[in-house]
């Protein structure tokens, strides 16, 4: 069962779209951080992308079944890392998300995503029934829930929420009875208000200011309002690179990470964001296409998990920028500056390519 594979079979369109988005991101990071204390972020991002592409190729060359076979080592390894982060991690802005490993400051919660994609794929392929029963559902939910809780405790609600689409799409693809769906929906409706009280005060503020941004324009509503102003200020054609006042005078919070798309929208206008969003659509559709051509259900689950995660990221981040989603502080994949997130996206794309390279196995 050994086949000779070449990188000629890589998903080149996917890579082109990915690198185009990375290029937009790097340019925007450069423009947004010019003459700020993050002025070196753009070439660091080039390093992250470069190393990310390498990681993608390495992962692509490994059979995803092999990775799935070792997923429990990865799973418990990442759980250990999460706990280590909680114990010895760096505290930034009141939350402990980063850990220093071999000179790199890594956001451990980002790498949980890849492990969860593999875990969900592994678990679901092992099931025999046409649909999931309560026991199976409970088991996979528990596997996802443990790292979610750990990340939520950091606290980092945004990143922990990104694990949910992996689980949801996986479970739906595996098959779920309508009855189950209705019960889950019912339980959610009942528990959500209770969940609101469990939120941290800053999270409540964010929710409130998402719904009523003008209530406290200098406080938590500030980011919502300033982001909206930045986007609107861009107009149809944008203010031009380096010409955006909201970005360059510091009214936009973190214009190179979470709010990079506001900054992009201000400088390149509606035309610019349509180009960027079409690239994201192509990216996700290409990943879904790989799911369609996957040779087995494991490959399908992996690709769909990646697609769901990317879609969720784009929806929540861009929705936040445009004022249609509450502020959760999750980055925009491929464009936002940051090593861990960029690497985790490339690792996921590596998994997708790994599935693609092995589509003719049988």
């Amino acid at each position: 069962m050994h086949f000779y594979r070449t990188f000629r079979d890589l998903d080149w369109p996917l890579l082109v779209v990915t690198l185009a988005l990375c290029a937009l991101g790097i340019l925007q990071i450069y423009s947004a951080t010019l003459s700020t204390r993050w002025a070196d972020a753009w070439w660091k991002q080039i390093l992250w992308v470069g190393t990310g592409v390498l990681m993608m190729l390495i992962v692509a060359s490994i059979d995803y079944h092999t990775l799935m076979g070792r997923v429990f080592y990865f799973y418990f390894g990442t759980l250990a890392l999460l706990i280590a982060t909680a114990l010895v991690g760096n505290k930034v802005f009141g939350s402990t998300r980063w850990i220093r490993i071999a000179g790199f400051t890594l956001q451990t919660s980002e790498f949980v995503k890849i492990v969860l994609i593999l875990l969900v794929a592994r678990y679901l392929t092992g099931l025999k029934g046409e649909t999931l029963n309560w026991k199976e559902l409970g088991k996979i939910a528990a596997f996802t829930g443990v790292p979610m809780l750990l990340v939520m405790k950091e606290p980092d609600l945004g990143t922990s929420l990104t694990y949910l689409p992996i689980l949801i799409v996986g479970v739906l693809m595996a098959g779920l009875r309508w009855k189950y769906l209705l019960v889950i929906a019912g339980v959610l409706v009942v528990t959500l208000p209770i969940g609101y009280y469990a939120l941290k005060p800053y999270q409540k503020d964010r929710l409130v200011s998402f719904i009523y941004p003008d209530r406290d324009p200098k406080g938590t509503g500030f980011q919502v309002i300033q982001s909206r102003i930045a986007v609107g200020n861009g107009g149809m054609w944008g203010r031009g690179a380096k010409e955006s006042s909201q970005t360059h005078l510091g009214f936009l919070p973190v214009p190179h990470t979470d709010f990079i798309f506001s900054s992009f929208a201000e400088e390149h206008g509606f035309v610019g964001i349509v180009v960027a969003l079409v690239l994201y659509l192509l990216l996700i559709m290409q990943v879904v296409q790989n799911a369609q051509t996957a040779t087995d259900r494991a490959g399908l689950y992996i690709c769909m998990g990646v697609a769901a995660l990317l879609l969720f990221h784009v929806l929540v981040n861009v929705g936040m920028v445009v004022g249609r989603m509450p502020i959760t502080g999750i980055p925009l994949p491929l464009m936002s500056s940051g090593g861990s997130n960029t690497w985790s996206v490339f690792l996921m794309l590596g998994l997708v390519n790994s599935v693609r390279l092995r589509r003719f196995v049988n």
């Binding site: 799935m68 076979g69 429990f72 592994r122 678990y123 392929t125 092992g126 025999k128 799409v169 739906l172 693809m173 200098k218 300033q226 909206r228 102003i229 930045a230 986007v231 609107g232 200020n233 861009g234 107009g235 149809m236 006042s245 909201q246 005078l249 510091g250 009214f251 929208a265 206008g269 509606f270 964001i273 349509v274 969003l277 994201y280 659509l281 996700i284 559709m285 879904v288 799911a291 369609q292 996957a294 040779t295 087995d296 259900r297 494991a298 490959g299 399908l300 769909m304 697609a307 769901a308 879609l311 784009v314 929806l315 861009v318 929705g319 445009v322 004022g323 249609r324």
Partner: protein, 637 residues
Amino acid sequence: MAIVETERRQEEELTPERLLHDDPKGAPAKIAVFQYVTVAVFIFLISGFWKLQVQNPDVYSEAAERNRIKSTPVLAARGKILDRDGRIIVDNKASYALLLNRDSISYDHIPAICDALQLDPAELTKKVHRMRSAPQIIIKDQLSRDEIAWIESHQDADTYPEMQLIQSWRRQYPQDGFAAHVTGYVGEIAEAELNSPQFIDYKQGDIIGKDGLEKQYDQVLRGVNGQQRVLVDNMGHERQMEDAQVATPGKDLKTTLDLDIQAVAELSLQNNRGAVVALDPRSGEILAMVSRPTYDLNKFTGRISRADWNEISNNPAKPLLNRAIQAQLAPGSTFKPLMAIAGLESGVVDDKTDFHCPGGASFYGHYFACHLKHGHGDITLHRAISQSCDVYFYNVGNRLGIDRIAHYAEMAGIGHKTGIDLPGETQGTMPSIKWKMRLARQKWYAGETISVAIGQGAVTVSPLQIAAALSGLGEGGLWYKPHMLAGQPTTLVSQGNFKPENLDSVVSGMYGVVNEGGTGRAAYLPNVKVCGKTGTAQVAATERTKGAKMHSSLANNAWFVGYAPMDKPEIAVVALFENGEESYNAVPIVRDVIKAYFDKKSRDKNLSAGNQYAAPSLLYPRALAAAVWNPLARSLF
């Protein structure tokens, strides 16, 4: 490790069913649903951008501009107010003002700011609320050094970012209420004023003239404020200057006032309630105007505190009233020259007609007393004026009737506004048959005319009115409009066309008042022929007619109107000394002012002759040399 076993089993038993179950092609419908959801998400996102960027981008670009541009007013200096020689009466002094920026204002900060700057928090809160439309609100002018230091150390982004210091101009008025009623004062524009079309180009918070010349010539004096637009970042730090509109200062206002005369008038009235006006009857130019009691205008500059305002405006002595043009009082005997010209011109008397004054006379069943209890005896016009005989004028008034009196008095401006360029002038009252019918729907009684004949009864005047009226007689029956703005053409308001001999009789009577042992003999000056007329007006009589209580004291008001020189009057001065008891108390005031005028004139003449140190020159060799050399040099070259 159940899953691991499952996998092992999976590898071992690759049965056809197993393969079928593992076939990913089984889920195309679900993948299609995912694709639709994906497209829907993107449409949802793009529509959000469409709404912000394409549908109403102006809203947001303006919001972005408000974010990044901080515009600060550059206040224009008001024009100075100058006297006729160009000397400064009202000046500006550079100072600092504190403004609050509307977009970063927080009501929570107000108590702390007020505490540091000694402001009333309730008042400021109301003001901030009231001035909703203003992007900046100036809350305090004339900051002290300590206050500036406090503001500079608290205006950072974390403390009170709404505070901003700007350069402003503080209006500097003469001290102790000197010429206060003439210059008037400035203040923040009132809400009521803003709503009137007259103030269409004013904004909330603008400084505007509230009284006097400041109000009358506000359009001349006020400049155009500039604006400085600075690019700021989110911390409020200024990044770079965008553009600056320079402020255009207001134009200086040159008045007809003469500071020297004004100073003498201020001093000679002392702190007595009343007024002094000096004018040039040839042109109507006002040389000096004083009203007492006065108030310190420097408390009014810009934004007066409520306590100070209440103290001044609720004062029963009414210091805000400009008595020179706003008092409406019985002129008393100062009215008599007008009676005289009316009698002569109407032909009811001539300068030989004599009446007997036994110290009083009865008319229409009432006894009217003369001020001289034992009487003036047989008396003609000349002595009747100089001795101010009441009985003589009762008879003249009785012969004239009220309407003929009114005709001549109104010709001289009584009962009409003089039209002086100061706000708030009152017109006084000149009664007539029609006037009473219109006002009270009552017939005029002939007995009332007797009182009017000696300037009592319903007739009331302002000091300026009576000064203009009498000096116009001296001018040959020409009345010019009084004015304060220098360089204005003179306006003839009224012309008497009197017979010269009639005018001469009246004028010589007024000459007698001062120079022939008359009631105004204290106004005598050695080198100048001063004419004038005294008046002792009863306050009680005035009150009965007006039906209102004006003064706490019922003592008579003392009047004196004088002008000089007799033949070609150059200056006319009126002094009103409220509750001054006897007219001779008003006379020296007028004399001092007239003397000051002629002293200055002779000094100026000496100056223009190059004789700068006329008197002391013998003591100073250089001055002596100059005194000899300058005229010599002028004649040589």
